[in-house]
Amino acid sequence: MAAPRIIVVGGGLAGLAAVIKIAEAGGTVDLFSIVPVKRSHSVCAQGGINAAKNLKGEGDTTDKHFDDTIYGGDFLANQTPVKAMCEAAPAIIDLLDRMGVPFNRTPEGLLDFRRFGGTLYNRTAFAGATTGQQLLYALDEQVRRYESEGKVKKYEGWEFLSAVLDSKGQARGITALDLRTMELRSFHADAIILATGGTGAIFGKSTNSVICTGSAQSAIFQQGAFYGNGEFIQVHPTCIPGEDKLRLMSESARGEGGRVWVPRTPGDPRPVKQIPASERFYFLEEWYPKYGNLVPRDVATRAIHKVVYQLGLGLDGQPMVYLDLTHIDRATLNRKLEGILEIYEKFVGVDPRDEPMKIFPGVHYTMGGLWVDFNQMTSIPGIFAAGECEYQYHGANRLGANSLVSCIFGGFRSGPNALEYARNLPAAEGDGGHAAELARQAEINGKLLKNEGTENPFKLWRELGKTMTEHATVIRYNKGLKEADEKVVELLDRYKNVNLSDRSQWANTSFAFARQLKNMLELSRVIAQGALLRDESRGAHYKPGFPDRNDEKFLKTTKAAFTGSAAGPRFEYEEVDTQYIKPRPRNYDAAK
C-alpha cells in the first residue's frame, strides 16, 4: 500500500503542530495556507501559554489547571480532552523551550511565569508580549526543516474551498484555489486536518486577522459536518478601537499589575494624572476582590459594559475605560510588555508608560467550532480539525493563555490520529468524488464571476458585521437575535445579486472575498440561532432575560447541522462529559 497522504489546511500553531507530528512519524504532508505560514494569525497572540509547571513554589498542579479551565468555561467543555490537555501542557512548554523559543527567564536561567485571568497561580510562560509570534516561528522553523528534507510540501497562497467526499461520505481530498493564478484544482488525500482558526470577520471588526473568516469551517459544515457550540464567542475586555480592526491589548498587561478604572465623576475634566486615587473607580477590584483585574474575560467585559452603558461612566461619555500601567517602572514594562506597548504607541500615538490606555471590549475568540470527537475527527470520516476552528477545549469561555496550548495540543493529537486513520483507509472507488466536486466548485466560481448584480460584497460584509456585533456579542436578547438572523437571511438573498467590481483571472481578491462572504453568512446563522435557542446565561453567552445558568436544560453541547432550507440549520444537543469535576456555581467574587 502506498504511503498515506495527509493534507493540512492552515499553517498557524495547530496546523504546524500537526505537520510536525506527521513528518516525524514518517508521513508526508501537503500544507495549504492562504498566507505564507509564518504570517498566520497565531502571531497575534501576545500574553503567553499556560502550563502548571509550578516553578514559583505555589503548589500549582495540572489538576488545578484543569479545574480552572473547566470552571472558567462554565462547565460546558467535555472534561476528558481538557484534562489530557492540561496534563500535556508542561511537556509542551519544555518542547517549545528546546525548539528555541526565547521565553523570559528567571535570574537562575529558568522559565519565568506570570499570572493570567481566571487563576490565582503564576502559570503563564511568556516571551515578552509576543508569545504567539515566538511560538509560531519555532514551529515554522521546524516545518521548514522538514520541508527542506522533502517531507512537507507547502501550498502557500492557496485557499481551501471544499472537501472531496466519496460515495460513502469519506474524505478523499480537497479542492483549492490558487489565489494568484485563480486556478481551481483538486488534491488527493487519505485524511485532512483543518486548522483554519477563528471566525472574527463575521463580526466585521475584531482582534482577528483578515483571513479569520471561518470560511473553511463553514464549507465543511455545509458539506455535512456538525458545528459545535457556535453561539460561544469571546469578547476580549481590553482592545484599542480602530478604523480597520480592534487591536488587542493583552491580558498580560493586567497580569503584570495593570489596573482598570474610570473617574468616579462622569466627564471629570481634570487631566487623568491629577485625579486622586479616592476619586478613581477601580470597579473590577471593588466588585471582584479575590481575582480583581484578573477575572475571566467574559466577566471583565460585562463589567466594562455595565460601567459604560448602565452607570454612564465611560471616559468623556465615550465607550472607553482606562487600562493603567503608569504605576509600574519603565524597565519592567519594557522587559515584559514591550510588544503591546509599542502597538498602543504606534496606533494611538500616546506612550502607555506615561498615560493610561483607553480601551474597550472587542470580539476576540471563537470558542465554538467544528464538532470533533476526542480523537479530533469531525463528523465527516477522514476530516480532522484542530485549533480555534474546533470547539473542544474552552467550553463557554476560554481562559487567557489557554489558546496557544490548546492549538498545539490539538495539532499534536490530530496529526498522528489522521495518519492512523489514513493507514487503515481502503482504496477509493472510482475517482473518490474528485471530478464531481471539481465540477461543483467550477460552477460556483463561474457563476460568481459572471454575476451581473448590483451588490458590493465588501458592503454586504459591513452590514453583516454591524448586525452580528450589535445582537450576538456581549449582551443578547432574543428579539435582537431574531433580527440578526433575519438580517443574515436578507444578506444571503442580496448575495445572489452580488457584483464583483473585478472580473480578472489574476490575483483577484474580490473574488476570493466574495466566496468567503457566502460562507461567513451561512455560519452567522449558526451563531445567531444557536444563541437564540440557548435560553440561559453561561460564560460568554449572556441573556439578561435568562441571567442564570440552567444546567438541567443546557448543560449540553449545541450541535448544528446544515439543511440548505430557508429555516436555517437544524440543532441537536449532546450530553457534556462531566465525569471528573461536578458542575458547581461559577462565582469570581471569592476564591473558588
Binding site: 498566520s40 518542547l95 528546546r98 525548539m99 528555541g100 528567571t106 509570534q133 515566538q134 480602530g242 490575483a507
Partner: protein, 249 residues
C-alpha cells in the same frame, strides 16, 4: 470635520505583463485612518477621484498590527508597513507603490518568497531530536534572552532587503534579515550545533561579504532589530570560519 478629505495616489499594475498606471482616490477622512483602512474603503467603493469605476486594490495584509509582516509597501517613497502608516502622519497626496526589489504580482502585491528560501539555505532552526518529552530545555540566562529576543522579533517583512543597495540580482545578497537569523540560531545552545554550516552558507557569493555597510536596513526595520550589529558579529564569525576551513584543507 465631515468634509475633510484624504487623497491617495496608488500605483496599479494588473499583472506582471501589464503596464503600470497611477490612480488617484479621494476619501472622507476618519479618525485613526491608516493606509490599509483607506484601501478597505476603496474596496467597498472602487471609484477613482475623477469618478471612474475601477477594481479593488490587490495587496497583502493580515494582522494589521505590524506583527505578521504582510503589508510592506512603499509609502511616500519609504518602505514600511501599511497598517501602521497613519494617514494623519503622512504628507498628502499619499503615494503608495509596491516594493521594487521583488517580482510584482499585481498592484501592491509582490513575491517575497526569496526570504523563506534564504532561511532554508542557512538552516534557520534548532535541530531538536524529536517532539517527544525529553525534559526541559537548556538554561538560558536573562541577559542572553535579552540579546536573542529582539532578533527573534523579525517579521520577515523584507523592508531591510528593499532598501539595501546591495540586494539585487547582480550580487544575489541574502540581506540583513537572514544574517540576523544566523546570529540568533548560532547563539542558541542547541542551535549552535549547525553554526559552521550556517557560516559556510554565508561565506560564498551572495553571502555576508556583499554587505556594503550602507546601514539603511537598521534605519528602516519596523521592529528596530539591531541588524548592523548582527552583520558585524556574523561577519567576524564567517571570517574565523573561513580561516579555520583554510587551515584544515
Amino acid at each position: 470635520m465631515a468634509d475633510k478629505k484624504v487623497t491617495l495616489e496608488i500605483k496599479r499594475q494588473a499583472s506582471p505583463d501589464d503596464p503600470a498606471v497611477w490612480e488617484t482616490f479621494e476619501l472622507d477622512w476618519r479618525h485613526g485612518m491608516n493606509v490599509i483602512s483607506a484601501m478597505m474603503e476603496i474596496a467597498a467603493n472602487p471609484v477613482t477621484a475623477d469618478g471612474r469605476a475601477t477594481t479593488p486594490i490587490t495587496y497583502d495584509s493580515n494582522c494589521l498590527e505590524e506583527i505578521c509582516g504582510s503589508c510592506a509597501m512603499r509609502i511616500n517613497g519609504k518602505a514600511r508597513m501599511a497598517c501602521s502608516a497613519l494617514v494623519d502622519n503622512l504628507e498628502q497626496p499619499i503615494r503608495v507603490e509596491p516594493l521594487s526589489k521583488f517580482p510584482l504580482v499585481r498592484d501592491l502585491q509582490v513575491d517575497r518568497s526569496v526570504l523563506f528560501e534564504n532561511l532554508k539555505a542557512v538552516k534557520a532552526w534548532v535541530p531538536v531530536d524529536g517532539t517527544y518529552d525529553l525534559g526541559s530545555g537548556p538554561r538560558v540566562f536573562p541577559q542572553q534572552q535579552e540579546v536573542n529576543y529582539p532578533l527573534s522579533n523579525c517579521i520577515s517583512c523584507t523592508c531591510c532587503m528593499e532598501v539595501c543597495p546591495q540586494f539585487n540580482e547582480e550580487t544575489g545578497f541574502v540581506g540583513a534579515a537572514t544574517i540576523a537569523q544566523v546570529k540568533l540560531f548560532n547563539n542558541h545552545p542547541t542551535g549552535s550545533v549547525l553554526k559552521e554550516e550556517r557560516l559556510r552558507a554565508l561565506a560564498g557569493d551572495g553571502g555576508i561579504q556583499e554587505c556594503g555597510f550602507a546601514q539603511n536596513c537598521v534605519e528602516v526595520c519596523p521592529k528596530q532589530i539591531p541588524l548592523t550589529d548582527a552583520i558585524s558579529d556574523v561577519s567576524r564569525d564567517v571570517l574565523v570560519q573561513k580561516a579555520k576551513d583554510f587551515l584544515r584543507s
